[in-house]
Symmetry: C2
Subunit: 218 residues, 2 copies
Amino acid sequence: MMQASVTAEQEAPSVRQQAVLDAVLGLMVEDGEQVTMDAVARRASCSKETLYKWFGDRDGLLTATVRWQASRVHAGHDTAQVLDGATLRERLQDFAVTWLEVITGPTSVALNRIAIAHAGSRKSNLGGIVLANGRFAIGERVKPVLEAGRAAGLLAFADSEAAFRTFFGLVGRDIQIRLLLGETLDLDGAGIRRDAGRAVEQFLVLYGQAKPDPKHQR
Amino acid sequence: MMQASVTAEQEAPSVRQQAVLDAVLGLMVEDGEQVTMDAVARRASCSKETLYKWFGDRDGLLTATVRWQASRVHAGHDTAQVLDGATLRERLQDFAVTWLEVITGPTSVALNRIAIAHAGSRKSNLGGIVLANGRFAIGERVKPVLEAGRAAGLLAFADSEAAFRTFFGLVGRDIQIRLLLGETLDLDGAGIRRDAGRAVEQFLVLYGQAKPDPKHQR
DNA sequence: CGAATGGCGTACCGTACCGTACGGTACGCG
DNA sequence: CGCGTACCGTACGGTACGGTACGCCATTCG
């Protein structure tokens, strides 16, 4: 009867619907305030009626867009069981680089802006979705690594959540808030790797059980 | 001739105008999306015509509100010349506590939401004002303390900006982004002091020249 | 081949909100 | 007293946008 309405939860968007959601993302990146239903319909070459049939209302469209983008970020390698110092450092470095690449990307900035603007009023918490798939998702992936590091005697901490939050702060610092507030930081891949490396070394200084390796600069 | 129009820069708002701006802040805290010119006029018991005479347009009103709030945050004690370890720790602790109190306050959250939402489009960078009076203002106040600490042989770093950004990250961690995205973290004064103390100790571990004092817990 | 379905384009409605205009009032001043 | 000024309250125009309705075409299937 009815085509997959994405608002009904659990429904994965069809290919055509994904194209619509990508159009929304494109508009968000260009200018968050011009994400209007007319503009989306024009950009996606579809009719507004179809948008409403598929997504219910504007909030449904935005929610589906956030979910759609979130579903693309989840690519990440799985847990390795045994950890030596070099592997631990490498895993943390990977997480830091990935995280910095995500939050400095224009899509993430635009999406977070929308979600934050929306968080001011009650209806439909985009903020919760962004948090669940951003900050908390990365936390749930990092904490097992930290705990494996502790089990291997490489790290010392009582609360893995607290340790992760410190790691999070060392990696992100003021970058995200500055980007969200409109500053144009240009971080290339090399800069991101340097930042990530510094954060990892600092984290190991704070939480490392064995002394960090002699590569420790500064 | 004309009453002080706050849009003309350098003009400080009159008492009546301050009352209007406080009304705007109140509306922002209640619900960022209901800051409409009608609502402001009603809340402030003034006419819309007066709002436009004083502030030019809606952006001017928002800008004046951001400036007005920023002007209230600047209360901070001045530099002490000689620094021993206890004084340095105390000054950093003060900064950390103040900063956490600011960013967890409902006014700051609401204001940052407005500025971030606005940063998506070009016109009138509220984001720049918030950054200048928030992140950068605190940085300009902390960095002299760090440099005094280095001059006293208590700290070791090459770049005071980089050192401050690490301090910033250790203090703020994920708190601001979680609040902006709508999570309700309840941090009381004791929790803030605990967080600030942990951040200061971690910073001193990373950048302290002399070993931190035996009070160092965890 | 004809009917049905899905979807595009567009016209349209209601509403919310920005910005302006206008009438009315209080107050200071010559 | 009379005038100007500043301001409040409110009504109004213009516009942008969310949401709906309708005509039309293409594809598919009986």
